[in-house]
Symmetry: C2
């Protein structure tokens, strides 16, 4: 069911994985801008279509009448083993794109990840995090996944590109930085949560990393809103970070294509 705003229909947005960190940010910040619907694997304290994205038949009803799908559901950890990557990230992402196509959904916003090109960071750390370092990676660099998780995101982007080109779907892939439930980029919990291959970083190096990779929850929600609203963009891969003092993932395409203008900034 949609509600009228300024004479036009409110966009109906289905969020997969709506209970996760990013899904929660979307529900908090975008609940008034869109007619939000949720798809989650388990029952939630908010209304949700309960189904597992590994089951195409089970998720199909949730896509009826939807304008935009924001696909967040996946195993989110870089160290996720194959036994979970296969169903949750490979099969699940196919099912979400295919259910979208079958239901005539016009737009899919896909939560990709910087881990699609994570080897550049592993090669460059920790000097890559310094304010004086000028290396920047954009969406045109060769993919260099650092994990099966990263491979699953390269695959999801390729799948999205195919759905865009063969089926006319708008697909925007967001290579999302460090979004955390604890939204303070200097908190100990925030600094503890580096991806596994960076376990060796010192506390100070972790602080510098977060200074570059942080994406605040409201900036993340706003980036997703820009991807939803940029109707003239049929296909894009963009990075998402806040207006941080050091940036080694380029915001150029997010700014130029989507008009993304982050409001938050990690402390120096």
């Amino acid at each position: 069911m949609t509600t009228a705003t300024t004479g036009s229909k409110t966009t109906t947005v289905l969020v997969t994985g709506a209970e996760g960190t990013i899904g929660t940010a979307v529900r908090e910040h975008l609940g008034k801008r869109y007619d939000l619907r949720s798809l989650t694997r388990t029952e939630q304290p908010f209304p949700s279509h309960i189904a597992d994205i590994t089951d195409l038949d089970a998720i199909r009803p949730a896509f009826a009448g939807v304008d935009v799908v924001v696909h967040l559901a996946a195993s989110p950890a870089v160290e996720t083993p194959w036994a979970e990557i296969l169903p949750n990230n490979l099969v699940g992402t196919y099912n979400v794109f295919e259910a979208s196509r079958q239901a005539g959904v016009g737009t899919v916003v896909f939560a990709s990840s910087n881990h699609a090109i994570g080897m550049y960071e592993l090669d460059g750390a920790p000097s890559l995090y310094e304010l004086s370092d000028d290396r920047v990676y954009d969406e045109r660099v060769e993919v260099r996944p650092d994990s099966l998780y990263g491979v699953s995101k390269v695959y999801g982007e390729a799948l999205g590109r195919m759905y865009h080109e063969l089926h006319g779907m708008r697909v925007v892939c967001l290579r999302i930085g460090s979004v955390r439930a604890d939204d303070d980029p200097a908190s100990p919990a925030m600094l503890d949560s580096v991806p596994m291959p960076l376990d060796h970083l010192s506390r100070e190096e972790r602080r510098r990393r977060m200074r570059a990779t942080w994406l605040s929850r409201r900036d993340c929600a706003e980036l997703i809103a820009r991807a939803i609203d940029a109707e003239e963009v049929g296909w894009a891969v963009v990075y998402g970070i806040s207006d941080n003092p050091r940036q080694f993932w380029s915001l150029r395409s997010a700014r130029e294509l989507l008009g993304f203008d982050p409001r938050d900034r990690a402390p120096e």
Copy 2:
């Protein structure tokens, strides 16, 4: 078991999908250069380890003592539906890379495909096939898969890159052109076998396409041999076509990195 040649050990090469069109070309042309072993899903008139690549435990014994894996096993048709892409191309390719890693195999040659970038051809056909057209696509262009099959090849390349970077494996990905059991690029059977999205091409357009995309069976085997032998190349993506009068997939990297020098040429 290996045999001695010129004082050094013959390279032991495991060929997955050894019964297919390319596998047959490898067995015919490279049987004397390497100690070839075969892995096939069904019994064959030649010695083979019988196992399905969808079963990691079942294929693992075939990788013991192997120097190089040539991974050809997959559903090979561009129109292959998801129900077959998932086990044969996504799961199977992971299992082959993982079995290789576990067995300490140093090199994997992965049969990728031009369908990883097939949308450039679909956009450009049929004028792309003309001798006067100068468009050329190399391994640096953005991937634009034309099918789930093409997506599976983008995924396989990303997986190979990860195994190369994290595990030190040599990985060479071959975006292979049109190899057919009937090795005559002008035969009616050859011209009938265009990928599904090109079904609409006229007979003359099909002839022009084959003039550009043909890879003879012996050139294909030689390209695979170059990939096996180029020990200084840790990672590469190259195209494979014969020395055709029209070429819209670049042979530059195959020539420069692998020293590939095709001997056959489709007729004008």
